[in-house]
Every structure is written in structure tokens, then in C-alpha cells.
Amino acid sequence: MSYSGHRRTMEPLVLLLIALLCMSAGAIGALMGIGGGLIIIPLLTLGFGVPMQEAIGASLIGVIATSTGAATKYVKQGLTNVRLALFLEMSTTIGSIVGALIAVYTDQTLLFLLFSMLLVYAGCTMLRRTEVIFSPEQVAAEGQMVDLSCQYVDPKNNCQVSYGVKGLKKGLAYSSVAGMLSGLLGVGGGLIKVPVMNVCMCVPLKAATATSNFMIGVTALTGAIIFYGHGLLDAYLCGAVALGTFGGAYVGTMVMARYSASDLRKWFSILLFIVAVTMVLKAFGLWGGA
């Protein structure tokens, strides 16, 4: 999609409406550990006729706002596992570079279809299996590359949870795939990382979503710098999107505190199925463009 070079004046009310609608993206992002570009991009392009490139730029800013806004709360509660986030960020960032480089040579339609199958598989796995948590001592006994164990107090019932993180090599490998997919398709980092952390690495769901949400800030960072450098960000649009997603992220952290991990796990699987359907639509050019 080419940028038309023509700027529309955004009325204050339109900006307010965009900010309000972007709250939903911030809330879902904070709750599910995803970026929310999936919501912001179609919202801006289909709903407000914003050119694709500007919409992607604004969505990158919205993703950083979601990540930062939610993380201020989650880091304080101990839900964000900062070490685990940094550990996996190594492979997601490298993965996204590789993905972006090979994006030119690959068939997007096929990729979207494969991605949607992967999402359905991840959703089914999360529905079928119950959460297994290992204590830091159990994991330490097995011997891991690095100690990523962490503890938090679940805001729902004030229970302290200590957990060890297993399957580090698997986690690194899968999150490089998650990074590659987000580089290739522009979406999907969080949707893959949460099930990987939760199912393969035995990280409790709330910690997995908070950690994924935290990581997304760094993932979106590179794109945002590049867009800023090329002057492709619309200052007002980005401002409205950022304010909305900040607010939404705050709401999301409040919702997270009220529900149990098993509820969230069900919602996450449903989200995966919904996204899988939109990806199939996208593959056939029926959703939001790419």
C-alpha cells in the first residue's frame, strides 16, 4: 500500500473517538499479553480510513504504550518476570529481523494460513491441558542454563506463587519462531509467546501474559524508531492512540486482578481462535490488508 501523501485533518472529536476505541486494544493487550496491533490497525484503516503505513506506525506507538502502561503495575506486583523477558527478547528480536528480511521472498497467503493453524493448535493445547507449575527447587534440581525462577502475589486471592522456569532451550527456539512470524506478518508475537511460556516453560498464565506484555515493548521499539526516523508517524494520531491504549492497559490490569488463571486461559484460547479466523480472512484479502 502506498502512502498517498495527503493528510486529512483530524477533528478533535474523531481523535477522542479513536482514543476511546483504542482503550479496548490496550485492555485486551494488558490482559492477554498481546500488542493490540491486531485491533488498532483494522480499526484505523477500516474504521477511519487512515492509510496503512500511518496506521502501522500509530499501532507501534500504541503497543509500546500498552506494554509500558501495564508493566508499571505488573512489575510492581512481581507478575512480570524481568529476567525471563530479557532472556526471550534475545531470540524474538533476532527472529523478527530474520522474518523481516525473508518476508520479501515468501508467500503471505500461505503464511497466514499456516499461522492460523498454529493458533488453533495452541488454543486447543491450552484448553486441553491444565496448568502445571514447578517450584524453583524442583527446577533447580534438574539443572538449567540460568535460574529464571520468580515469585508473585496473585492479586485475586493474595496467594504467593513461586515458580521455576523449565524448557529454556525449547522456549528460546519457539520464541525465535514467534519473533520471525511477527517480522513476517507484522502480528503474532504475543499470541505465540504466551502459550510457549505457559505450556512449554511451565510459567503460570498470569506471569506469562505479564511477561509477554512486557517483552512486546522492546519488539515494537525497533519498528517505532524506524518509522519515526522516516517521519512516518502522525503526531496527533499517535498521541490519541497512545492515550487510549495507556488508559485501556490500566483497565486491563484491574480486570486481570479479578479473574482466576483458568478463566484467563479459556479467554486466551478463544482469542486465539478468533485471531485464527481473522488470519484466514486476511489470507484471502478480506480483513484489514497487510
Binding site: I64, V82, R83, A100, D147, I225, A235, Y236, A242
Partner: protein, 112 residues
Amino acid sequence: MPSQSALCGVVQPILRWGMILSLALMLFGLALGIVAGVQEASVVPLERIPSQVLELDPAAFLTLGIVMLIATPLARVVGALCVFLRERDRKFVLVSLAVLFSVALAVLLGAA
């Protein structure tokens, strides 16, 4: 969990102040723009921000807010790196450096 509290103690304020500052700047910029009746502008290049802020240009305030927002995730990786350096946690010093390096690489490749 050797340094969880130390890490949170550094990372959390970075996020908090990054959020507060960028929110305040963006709100101010939007308000200025609405008062002035302008709601369209591209971001202002980094070197022009100081002079345009002094001229009370709404787009410059919005851009400064956006720059603060973009800088926050980067600052928290650097903040974490400082904690690991202080605790002589060699593995995680390398991990954070690898993250910073790959971000720089991605930006360089993307800008080219």
C-alpha cells in the same frame, strides 16, 4: 531469585516516569493543538524539537511525548543491565547486551 526486588526497584520507576512524562507531554500537545485548531502534523525531527518546543508548537510536544514513550522500553533494558553489572551477574549482563545489540541491528537494517 537473587535480584528480583533490586530489578523491580530500578525497572518500575523507569516505566512509571516514562509513562507519566510521555502522557503529560502528549496531553499538553493535544490540548494545545485543539486550542490552536490544528490537528494535523507529522512528527518533528529530533534536532528540531527543542526550538519548536520553545515556540509552543503542539506537534513538538506530541513528538517529545512519543520520543519519551519509545525511549522507555530501551531505558528499562539499560536499567536492568546496570542492576546486573552491579550484582556481577555475568550471564544476564550478556543477555541484556545481546538484547541491546539486536535492537541496534534491527534499527540499522530497517533504516537502510
